[in-house]
């Protein structure tokens, strides 16, 4: 596979994951607000805004419509839903011939639809409905990607992008609930916030199946970090990344793969063999930062080995 194509597939997938994360956070938040006091609702936005890296742009803004507009439609905000989708689509367009008609059209339709909503401004009447629809469309896109595209090298680059992004996003979200983030979000999380955290990761029902409806922060952390079977846990994502790494660049010589595989192995070991009480006893913030950092290192190693390598190194 061309290095440029791998690059575009990888980023397309990261941006789609980011878009899905954004849509879910906002959908969950809008639905949760209905049951919250005004103060709680506002501090809840603080977490969402921080999770979506929009603290700077939305400093002091408490108007829900303005926040939603910024997080969803604002083009100048590079992490808004529409920006993420637009980047995903631009990447997809560059590798159009590696995608199926179904994958491209699902992505393109969703983008065009959201863009027209922005122009017409009629999303304001029923915003949570809109985000449920967008989420639905993103899930359909994921399904179509799995069921129409051959699971070859390209698909594994998509898989790698999706899960590197997901692991990092979940780490960031956990940090905002467990870490020392008082400066951003003044209140310590309440029962309700823990519930919302699970929903942010579409984890509420899967969590209850394992731990019953008793909501305990430590169990939530354990579930979202270390559950081996739940698709939005950090460990699950790391597993997927490691598998993808064994499937990409099949003809690359072993020497070229060494660094990537070493880094992936280490990351997998810490996800597989760390226990939650060790993490809770020590600094969870540091643990999360380490995971995010190792993901970043894997990203760089993959680029160096397969994508941006100098031609002189292979001639």
């Amino acid at each position: 596979m061309l290095s440029r194509v791998a690059d575009s597939l990888y980023w397309m997938s990261r941006y789609i994951e980011r878009a899905e994360h954004t849509a879910r956070l906002i959908a969950v938040k809008l639905e949760a607000m209905v049951e919250q006091s005004r103060e709680d609702a506002e501090s809840g936005w603080g977490r969402v805004i921080a999770a979506l890296s929009a603290e700077q742009r939305l400093k002091g803004c408490t108007d829900t419509a303005a926040v939603v507009r910024e997080l969803v439609f604002e083009r100048l905000n590079e992490s808004s839903l529409l920006s993420s989708l637009s980047f995903a689509r631009e990447n997809a367009r560059q590798v159009r011939e590696h995608l199926t008609v179904e994958v491209w059209e699902n992505l393109n339709r969703l983008y065009l639809h959201l863009q027209s909503l922005d122009r017409e401004e009629n999303w304001r009447h029923n915003p949570s409905h809109l985000f449920r629809d967008a989420l639905q469309a993103l899930h359909a896109l994921g399904g179509v990607t799995d069921s129409t595209l051959s699971h070859g090298e390209g698909w594994y680059f998509l898989e790698m992008g999706r899960h590197i992004e997901r692991a990092q996003l979940v780490c960031r979200l956990l940090n905002l609930h467990f870490g020392p983030t008082q400066s951003i979000v003044p209140n310590t999380p309440t029962y309700f916030d823990w519930l919302v955290l699970l929903k942010f990761c579409s984890a509420f029902e899967p969590y209850c199946k394992v731990y019953t409806a008793a909501i305990r922060p430590e169990k939530i952390a354990e579930f979202l970090l270390f559950d081996a079977e739940f698709p939005h846990s950090v460990r699950f994502s790391i597993d997927r990344v490691c598998e993808a790494l064994t499937r990409v660049a099949p003809a690359a010589p072993p020497g070229r793969r060494a660094r990537v595989e070493r880094l992936a192995g280490r990351l997998k070991a810490s996800a597989d063999f760390t226990q939650i009480d060790e993490v809770m006893r020590g600094s969870i913030a540091r643990f999360l930062a380490e995971i995010a950092d190792k993901c970043e290192q894997i990203h760089e190693a993959v680029y160096e080995a397969y994508i941006t390598y100098g031609a002189e190194t292979v001639l």
């Binding site: 596979m1 061309l2 290095s3 440029r4 791998a6 631009e90 367009r93 560059q94 159009r96 011939e97 008609v101 491209w104 059209e105 393109n108 339709r109 065009l112 090298e153 990409v248 660049a249 099949p250 003809a251 690359a252 010589p253 070229r256 397969y306 994508i307 390598y309 031609a311 292979v314 001639l315």
Partner: protein, 496 residues
């Protein structure tokens, strides 16, 4: 019997007088109309469509047209218009109503175009080797060696099967008398074939019953034929590695490049994906470097290798031309083909056919005055208001004067340019391109069309029975170029 037909019988010359939807505004002009004969009766091969349209409620026609446009938008068959920092994507307008060509007409077009591409390839081989045609004085040397599309670098370079032009898109128009004539050959990087295929896809869905009953010939094998043509150009037999070279996602034909690569199952590459080492072309892949044997390039000569051609080009690949010269890679079309499709050489093509093939041309040219000849120049200057004057090396409708539509001032300014540089211009009478039924505001009106079939030429010469029909959507306009407000239509070639 169709309703339009019966009404047209009482109202000769103008089926519109029938006043029946959807033909209320269908006025026949001096041009040949594809659907209606001069007496207002539908031509036999259009009767079924004519009938079908008359029986569809206007809102149903409109709905199908919209479905067709939405499908293009979703597929991403768009180009981007930039205005006040807002980038909007538009689809290339496509018209729902097919343009129909009979089996007999197609047989003649096919034979004529095969003959033409054969002669043009002989001509290219000749001017890049001994130049026999120039020694024999058939054309002036300066016209060839002075052309900015002549590539000295190509001299004495062998080309597989002597096939310089592997993909050709020739523009045909139908004169008032109903004969198809050649308007221009596109021998460099002709585009539009993806519209031929995409239009078929949506129009077949819009008129499934009509499509089946008409016996329309299939065009879906075009990508396979293109692949076979490209394969035939290389001696490599196993694991042939073929790539489509595109300028990138910002090129207006990018959709087509990606489409063809996907349909052929070959790699789509940009210049930055390729590198040349020791005169061998490689693509950078995740697993390392992979050798490339054939490049179907969709980049102009000038930009293909900045070591040899334009220095400021970043689209191509350094060293590509040397790899080509060394015979390690095939580039299709070959470089330097543009010298044979400029508008001055065009006027010699009938003579070239006689010279190389000893045959009479099957398809005529449009009558052309070469301003380099003093007698023609004075004729052109005296008749500027009746002629279309074109710059020799331009394409896409640029650098031309449409005499009958130009103001006196414009004509005078153009006359000055002509006198200053007559060699750079040719002139042709204004041809009334034929008109075909086109959907306009829910009704059907005649609009001018041309016809661009695609000819593939490698070991064999192949035409897929279809074409890219361009349509001038503005009433009365004769300019069909997509860059100037033209749209496109599906083209149905009937099997009998």
């Amino acid at each position: 019997m169709s309703s339009a037909l019966s009404f047209a019988d009482d109202a000769a010359n103008s089926p519109s007088r029938a006043g029946r939807a959807p033909y209320g505004n269908y006025r026949l002009g001096p041009a040949y109309d594809e659907m209606f004969a001069a007496d207002g009766a539908p031509r036999p091969h259009y009767a079924a469509l004519c009938d079908r349209l008359a029986n569809l409620p206007p809102e149903e026609l409109l709905r199908r047209q919209q479905a067709c446009e939405t499908s293009f938008l979703h597929q991403g068959i768009t180009f981007t218009v930039y205005s006040d920092k807002q980038a909007t994507e538009r689809i290339i307008p496509t018209d729902l109503l097919p343009r129909i060509v009979t089996a007999a007409e197609w047989a003649r077009i096919e034979a004529g175009l095969k003959q033409r591409i054969l002669a043009l390839n002989c001509f290219l081989r000749d001017i890049y080797s001994d130049g026999r045609v120039l020694k024999d004085g058939l054309l002036p040397r300066s016209m060839i060696y002075g052309s900015r599309h002549y590539r000295r670098e190509m001299r004495a370079l062998p080309v597989p099967h002597d096939a310089y032009v592997n993909v050709c898109g020739t523009d045909l128009v139908r004169r008032e008398d109903g004969a198809f004539v050649v308007l221009e050959d596109n021998l460099r990087v002709p585009s539009g074939v993806s519209y031929m295929l995409a239009n078929r896809d949506v129009v077949r869905r819009a008129f499934p019953g009509l499509f089946r009953s008409q016996g329309v010939r299939s065009i879906d094998h075009y990508p396979r034929e293109l692949l076979a043509t490209l394969r035939s150009l290389t001696p490599v037999r196993e694991d042939v590695s073929i790539a489509v070279l595109t300028p990138g996602v910002f090129n207006s034909a990018y959709f087509e490049h990606a489409f063809l690569a996907r349909q052929m199952g070959v790699e789509l590459v940009e210049g930055r994906d390729l590198l040349v080492n020791d005169n061998i072309v490689y693509a950078r892949t995740t697993s390392g470097l992979k050798r490339i044997d054939v490049i179907y390039r969709r980049i102009d000569d000038d930009f293909i290798d900045h070591l040899i051609f334009r220095e400021d080009s970043s689209l191509g690949v350094s060293g590509l031309f040397n790899a080509y010269r060394a015979g390690n890679v095939v580039i299709a079309n070959a470089l330097g083909t543009g010298v044979a499709d400029d508008k001055a050489v065009y006027s010699y093509v009938p003579r070239l056919i006689r010279y190389y093939l000893s045959e009479e041309p099957i398809l005529e040219n449009v009558e052309t005055f070469l301003c380099r000849e003093p007698k023609s120049l004075s004729h052109v200057l005296a008749n500027l208001d009746k002629l279309v004057v074109k710059a020799v090396g331009e394409s896409g409708g640029y650098g031309m004067l449409v005499g009958p539509h130009a103001s006196k001032g414009e004509r005078e300014a153009f006359a000055a340019k002509l006198k200053a540089d007559p060699e750079n211009y040719i002139a042709q009478p204004t041809i009334q391109l034929s008109t075909a039924p086109t959907l306009v505001d829910g009704g059907v009106e005649p609009r001018h069309v041309d016809l661009r079939p695609f000819i593939l030429h490698g070991e064999k010469t192949v035409l897929v029975p279809g074409a890219f029909t361009r349509v001038a959507l503005r009433r009365g306009s004769l300019v069909v170029n997509s860059s100037q407000g033209g749209g496109s239509k599906d083209t149905w070639v009937l099997s009998q």
